[in-house]
C-alpha cells in the first residue's frame, strides 16, 4: 500500500456509511461475504476505492487487505482511481455493436480527445470525463445503450450522445450527479 500514514489518518468513513455496513454484516453468516457489498458502498461514497478504503474494509471485516484487494482487481466495476465527474460506460457487446455502439464510442472519444482504439477506462486530463467500453448490459433490445454515471440511456445515436455531452459540458456544479447506491 502506497499511502503515507497521514493520508490514512485523513480517511474517515461517516457514521451512516459505517452503519450501512454494520447492517450488511447481519445479512451473512460470515463477515467475509460483506466485502463485495462494502466495496460498492465505499465506491459509491468516495467515488473510487483507495488503499485506505481497502484497509478500512479489511479491518472492519477481519480480513487481510489482500483479500479485499483481490476482489477490487477482479471486478471491472471498481476503480482504484477517482473517476471523472461524468462517467460514460458504453456497451460494446454484440447486439449493441450490430446497432452501432462503436460509432457512439468513437464520437465520444473524439469529442473528448481520448483514444478511440483503447477500450479500457480513460479519463480526460482535466479529470472531468471518464469513458469506457463495458460488456452487455442486458438491455440488448434497446441498443446501443450506455450508462452516464448511474443513469441508463437507450437507443443512442451519435446525435443523442453529443447532446448528452453538451448537457455535461454546461454543468459546472462540483458534485457528481447520479451517483448513489
Amino acid at each position: 500500500m502506497h499511502e503515507t500514514d497521514s493520508m490514512v489518518m485523513e480517511f474517515s468513513v461517516p457514521n451512516t456509511l459505517e452503519s450501512e455496513i454494520d447492517e450488511l454484516i447481519t445479512h451473512y453468516p460470515e463477515k467475509r461475504s460483506v466485502t463485495l457489498m462494502a466495496l460498492h458502498a465505499l465506491q459509491a461514497h468516495f467515488g473510487f476505492v483507495s488503499d485506505a478504503g481497502i484497509e478500512w474494509i479489511a479491518q472492519k471485516l477481519d480480513q487481510t487487505p489482500l483479500a479485499v484487494l483481490e476482489l477490487v482487481t477482479f471486478y471491472p466495476m471498481f476503480s482504484r482511481e477517482p473517476l471523472g465527474k461524468f462517467h460514460f460506460r458504453i456497451c460494446r457487446t454484440l447486439s449493441c455493436a450490430l446497432n452501432g455502439s462503436e460509432k457512439i464510442y468513437w464520437a465520444l472519444c473524439e469529442q473528448l480527445g481520448l483514444d478511440k482504439n483503447v477500450h479500457k477506462r480513460q479519463t480526460t486530463p482535466d479529470g472531468r470525463f471518464t469513458v469506457e467500453f463495458v460488456e452487455c448490459l442486458a438491455c440488448c433490445n434497446k441498443g446501443p445503450v450506455l450508462f452516464l454515471n448511474e443513469d441508463f440511456h437507450e437507443n443512442m445515436t451519435e446525435e443523442s450522445v453529443s447532446k448528452l455531452l453538451t448537457i455535461c459540458n454546461g454543468d459546472n456544479s462540483s458534485e457528481r450527479k447520479g451517483t448513489g447506491k
Binding site: 451473512y28 471491472p76 454484440l94 442486458a138
Partner: protein, 470 residues
C-alpha cells in the same frame, strides 16, 4: 397469437400496472404463497406421509419445468439432488446475474414485477426448507437492486417475509447481493464464491456440486429469476395444467428476447415448441430491416452456436407407435424448444436470439464475441485464459488486413482445444462454441479476407509474405 400466452409477463407491461406491492396484490399476488403455506400433510395410498414441502417439490418435478438460465436442466430434479440429511442449513440463491449477451428477460421481471420473483422465491424456499436466501444481482442492475430492496421491504412489512410468515410458523429472509461486472458470476459456483467474498472463480464439479457442497459448503439451490417465477405458476395452476403448455420434453412458456438487426427487437413470452424460430423473428420481432436479408441467427445467447439462415435441419419426431420419423425443415421452421434447437446443433440457452443480417461481416461478429470472452475469462484454466486471447488476437489480425489462409483452420483448432471439458467450468465451451461455429459455417467469409491479405503480401515479398505482417 402465440405471444398472447403470457403467464410471467401477464401484467407487467399493462398500462395501469406498476411494481408496487399493492398493484401485485390487486392482481392476486401472493395468493399462491398462501396456498402453498396452508398445504396439509397428505397420506398416499400406500400409507406414505407427504409433507407440504414434499408435495410442492413433487409438483415442480411433475411439471417437467426446465431451468431458464441457460443449461435447461430439470428444476425438480435439481431440487431432488439437495442433500437434506446433512444437518446443515440449505440455501437458495436466485441467479439474477443476467449477463449472457443477447439476454434481457430477467431485467423486465426485476424492474416491472419484482414481487412475482419474490413470491416464486418464497414458495421455492419453503418447499426446500430454506430459511436464508440471496438474490445475486449483477452490479450494473443498480436500479433493479433498488427496486428489489424496496419490494423486499414491502414484503417484510406485510409479514410475507421474516419470522413466522403469515402465521405459518415458517421463517425466511432474503437479501440482495450485488455483483460488480463479472460475467463469470452467472456460473452457479462462481456466484457462490462471490457470495462468500472470494474471487468469483467457479469450483470443480465434482465435488463441489451446489446441491451438496454449495454456499459455505452447505447444500444450495441456484435457480434463475425466470425459473423461480415459473415455479410460482406451476404451483398456482398445478403441474398437470402447466405441463399442458409447451411440449412434453420442455413444458411451459418462456421469455425469448430478440435483438440485433431486426425491426422490432423485444421480449416475448411464448409457449415452448409451439412457435417457430421464424415466427419469433419475423412475426414478433418484425423481421429483417428494409432491404436486408437475415444471414445468421444466434438462437440462445452469444454462447450458442450460430445457425445459417439457409440451413436445413433434420428433426426426429416420435410417432404414436413408438417409431421415429425424420423430417427436414428450414431453420426458420424450427420449433423453438430445447430439443429442436439442439437437433440443429445449437441450444436455446438463455432464450436470447440475436439476428444478423447481410450487411454484417461474420468475421466482425466473431471478433466482437471473442473479445467478450477474453474479457470475461476468470483466468483459472489455461486453455480458457490463453485460448480466448489467441483467438481474439487472430481475429483482430484478420480484420486489420493481416490474415493468413491458415488462420481459418487455426481458429477451429484452438476452439477444439478449449472445449470438450478441458476447462474447469462451462465457460470454455461458451467461449469456443460460437467462434468455431462462425468459422465452420461462414468459412468463405473468413477465407476471402485471409486470402486477399495473404496474396497481396505475397505479391510484394513472395512466399515469405505469408507470415510477414504490415
Amino acid at each position: 397469437m402465440p405471444q398472447k400466452n403470457r403467464l410471467i409477463l401477464k401484467n407487467l407491461d399493462n398500462k395501469d400496472y406498476n411494481n408496487t406491492l399493492s398493484c401485485y396484490l390487486e392482481e392476486g399476488g401472493y395468493e399462491t404463497l398462501k396456498k402453498a403455506l396452508s398445504l396439509k400433510e397428505k397420506t398416499t395410498q400406500d400409507g406414505k406421509k407427504l409433507s407440504p414441502q414434499q408435495q410442492l417439490r413433487d409438483e415442480v418435478k411433475a411439471s417437467g419445468l426446465r431451468g431458464r438460465g441457460g443449461a435447461g436442466f430439470s428444476t425438480g430434479l435439481k431440487w431432488s439432488f439437495v442433500n437434506r440429511a446433512s444437518g446443515k442449513p440449505i440455501y437458495l440463491v436466485c441467479n439474477c446475474d443476467e449477463s449472457e449477451p443477447g439476454t434481457f428477460k430477467d431485467r423486465q421481471i426485476v424492474h416491472k414485477d419484482p414481487h412475482q420473483l419474490i413470491e416464486g422465491m418464497i414458495i421455492s424456499c419453503f418447499a426446500n426448507d430454506v430459511h436464508l436466501a440471496y438474490i445475486y444481482i449483477r452490479g450494473e442492475f443498480n436500479e433493479g437492486a433498488k427496486i428489489l430492496n424496496r419490494a423486499l421491504d414491502e414484503a417484510r412489512s406485510r409479514n410475507l417475509l421474516g419470522k413466522n410468515i403469515l402465521d405459518s410458523g415458517y421463517d425466511l429472509e432474503i437479501y440482495i447481493h450485488r455483483g460488480a461486472g463479472a460475467y463469470i458470476c452467472g456460473e452457479e459456483t462462481g456466484a457462490l464464491s462471490s457470495l462468500e467474498g472470494y474471487r468469483p472463480q467457479p469450483r470443480l464439479k465434482p465435488p463441489y456440486f451446489p446441491a451438496a457442497l454449495g454456499l459455505y459448503m452447505c447444500p444450495t439451490i441456484v435457480n434463475n429469476v425466470e425459473t423461480l417465477c415459473a415455479v410460482k405458476h406451476v404451483i398456482e395452476i398445478g403441474a398437470s395444467q402447466y405441463a399442458k403448455l409447451g411440449i412434453p420434453s420442455d413444458p411451459g412458456t418462456r421469455i425469448v428476447g430478440v435483438s440485433g438487426q431486426v425491426r422490432n427487437p423485444g421480449y416475448f413470452e411464448v409457449e415452448i415448441g409451439k412457435i417457430t424460430l421464424g415466427q419469433i423473428i419475423n412475426d414478433l420481432a418484425g423481421g429483417p430491416r428494409s432491404g436486408r436479408q437475415i444471414k445468421a441467427i444466434i438462437p440462445g445467447g452469444s454462447s450458442s452456436k450460430v445457425l445459417r439462415a439457409d440451413e436445413k435441419v433434420t428433426l426426429k419426431t416420435k410417432n404414436p407407435d413408438g417409431t421415429f420419423s425424420e423430417k427436414v425443415v428450414d431453420v426458420f421452421d424450427l420449433p423453438y424448444d430445447s430439443d429442436s434447437i439442439a437437433a440443429a446443433g445449437s441450444m436455446s440457452g438463455s432464450g436470447g436470439i440475436v439476428v444478423i443480417d447481410d450487411s454484417t461481416s461474420m468475421v466482425e461478429v466473431a471478433a466482437n464475441v471473442s473479445e467478450f470472452y477474453v474479457h470475461e475469462s476468470c483466468g483459472q484454466c489455461t486453455p480458457c485464459r490463453e485460448g480466448t486471447r489467441w483467438m481474439s488476437k487472430i481475429l483482430k489480425r484478420i480484420l486489420a488486413g493481416n490474415g493468413r489462409r491458415a488462420d481459418v483452420d487455426e481458429l477451429a483448432r484452438i476452439s477444439q482445444n478449449i472445449m470438450n471439458g478441458r476447462s474447469l467450468c462451462a465457460f470454455g465451451e461458451a467461449a469456443s462454441w460460437p467462434i468455431e461455429s462462425y468459422v465452420l459455417k461462414f468459412r468463405d467469409e473468413f477465407l476471402a479476407l485471409c486470402a486477399a491479405a495473404e496474396d497481396s503480401r505475397k505479391e510484394i515479398w513472395g512466399e515469405a509474405g505469408i507470415n510477414r505482417f504490415a
